[in-house]
């Protein structure tokens, strides 16, 4: 993507500006960002001051630098609710459930810090429990099919195969 200011260089700075609760986003090249008073290092420092957390403790700052710069990880905004990772870190609240998918790569450190874990171990919604049961049953049939074939019980194997097909297995 080209820089929105000069329209020449590749944009590598993603600037999120919030004024009176209105979020505006700019994609600039490094030069234009600095010409317009946005020093990357200063922004990093500013973010560090706001959050009172040192940068290595979490991932993306309020300015994301494209893949050309290895200093800072670039985190995409959520396409559904438009939440940026930096805004999430500033506000402490997600915008929608899809944010967890979009920010997945950057969340583990934070969750580890809050919960000392990144893996759910509690209950699951009914629709997932049904899926789990379905998958368990398929795995069991697959095992039985294998044993039937190995034992040359081809009629039994065919019956198991038909049952698996009925259950939606390819």
């Amino acid at each position: 993507m080209l820089c929105e200011k000069c329209q020449e260089n590749e944009a590598c700075v993603h600037l999120t500006d919030i004024v009176n609760n209105t979020k505006r986003e700019y994609r600039l090249c490094k030069e234009c960002a600095e010409v317009h008073g946005v020093s990357i290092q200063a922004q990093l420092q500013k973010f560090k001051n706001i959050t009172n957390i040192t940068l290595p403790e979490f991932c993306a700052p309020s300015i994301d630098i494209g893949s050309g710069d290895s200093e800072v990880t670039d985190v995409e905004d959520c396409p559904r609710c438009k939440m940026s990772y930096s805004l999430f870190r500033k506000e402490g609240k997600f915008g929608c459930s899809h944010d967890y998918t979009v920010f997945r790569g950057s969340l583990d450190d934070l969750l580890e810090k809050i919960h000392a874990s990144t893996q759910h171990r509690g209950r699951t919604p009914g629709r997932f429990r049904e899926q789990d049961n379905h998958q368990t049953k398929l795995d069991q049939l697959r095992e039985e099919l294998l044993q039937a074939v190995q034992g040359e019980q081809y009629e039994k194997a065919a019956a198991i195969r038909d049952q698996m097909r009925l259950m939606g297995s390819k």
């Binding site: 939440m83 997600f94 459930s97 874990s117 893996q119 759910h120 171990r121 209950r123 919604p125």
Partner: protein, 349 residues
């Protein structure tokens, strides 16, 4: 809302019975859930919030035979009524004071309640009198299973139930017990509780949970972590520390009676005297004296008074309830007069 008669017992969790109810006022479990296809409340517009409210209301209709939930639209209620709901622990202060389409629903006993469009789309709560987290959870388990069949909740195989705040993700479960620990405060031992609780990642807070200070020797202990532990493990964490806290408080009470009987009887007696005769009393002062009177009732010093009466004084002397009984909003000075009169009336029952 109908706040009930201050002459009659109110609310399941204020009955003053149940296991260890001399020390444990109530046990509460709360689950946070969100719908998959609508942004979280902080981002959702009014139309989306209304859709959330409509869907949840439709799902509430057939939760359990015999369970009827009364729904209230908070955006249509006045400030005093919303304050009453906060004081009853039916809604959070945040939900009461925010704006836009939002609901609260609760059953007659106020043991079951749900908030719609708080930080999360749905917050389910079961609250019982005394120490019975396990039973509260079992009832919540059934309630959530019934509602889960009708709504699609945001869930991720790795992160569990997805919530607006990362501190609730996973089980979305906050289990808490509200404790009355005056002997620990009198003897300066309350720090021990905080230390023991925080060591196993439990939070110690004031009466109204997050962001509130302990008042009148009342403390709320709840789990901090919601991810990486099963619901049962979360309850077990509280169960692992609570019997020791209760035993310690009881031991200190026995010691107080044994070594400083006159002192403690004097303290309780003075508190009872002030509540019985005061004509003007602030909320803070009333709470301090009610705490000592509560201690006196459970130690047998004030044998004519019932715990349920103490709980009722405690509830109705709060600003929202005082104003709801009266003719609408009252100045702080008028509330202090009304509070003193109400407390005197309950004490003479």
């Amino acid at each position: 809302m109908s706040i009930g008669d201050f002459h009659q017992p109110v609310g399941e969790w204020l009955r003053g019975d149940g296991s260890d109810s001399d020390l444990v006022i109530s046990s509460r479990v709360r689950l946070a859930r969100n719908l998959t296809d609508i942004p979280f409340t902080t981002v959702a517009n009014d139309q989306q919030r209304s859709t959330v409210a409509e869907r949840i209301q439709a799902a509430m209709k057939d939760l359990r035979p015999g369970l009827t939930l009364e729904t209230q639209h908070l955006d249509e209620m006045d400030r005093v009524d919303r304050l009453v709901l906060v004081e009853r622990h039916l809604v959070s202060r945040e939900l009461a004071m925010s704006s836009g389409p939002r609901l609260v629903a609760f059953d007659e006993s106020e043991a079951y309640s749900l908030m719609v469009n708080e930080e999360d789309h749905l917050r389910l709560q079961v609250m019982k009198s005394g120490y019975c987290l396990e039973q509260a959870w079992q009832e919540m388990d059934q309630l959530e299973r019934a509602i889960d069949g009708q709504l699609q909740f945001a869930f991720d195989q790795q992160y569990g139930y997805l919530t607006a705040c990362p501190t609730n993700v996973g089980t979305g479960l906050r289990a808490s017990v509200m404790l009355h620990l005056p002997a620990m405060v009198i003897t300066g031992q309350i720090e021990e509780v905080t230390r023991a609780a925080t060591k196993i990642h439990l939070a110690v807070r004031g009466l109204f949970g997050e962001g509130t200070e302990a008042q009148g020797d009342f403390f709320q202990i709840s789990n901090q972590r919601t991810l990486g532990l099963s619901e049962t493990e979360i309850l077990q964490k509280i169960d692992s520390v609570l019997p020791n806290i209760l035993r310690y408080e009881r031991k200190l009470r026995d010691e107080l009676l044994e070594r400083r009987r006159e002192r403690i009887e004097d303290k309780v007696g003075r508190a009872f005297g002030i509540l019985s005769h005061a004509r003007v009393i602030t909320s803070k002062e009333a709470l301090e004296h009610l705490s000592l009177v509560r201690l006196g009732v459970s130690m047998g010093i004030l044998s004519d008074l019932k715990m349920e009466q103490v709980n009722r004084m405690f509830l109705f002397s709060q600003p929202g309830h005082l104003q709801a009984i009266g003719e609408g909003e009252l100045s702080s000075e008028d509330r202090d007069l009304k509070r003193a009169a109400l407390v005197r009336q309950i004490l003479t029952e």
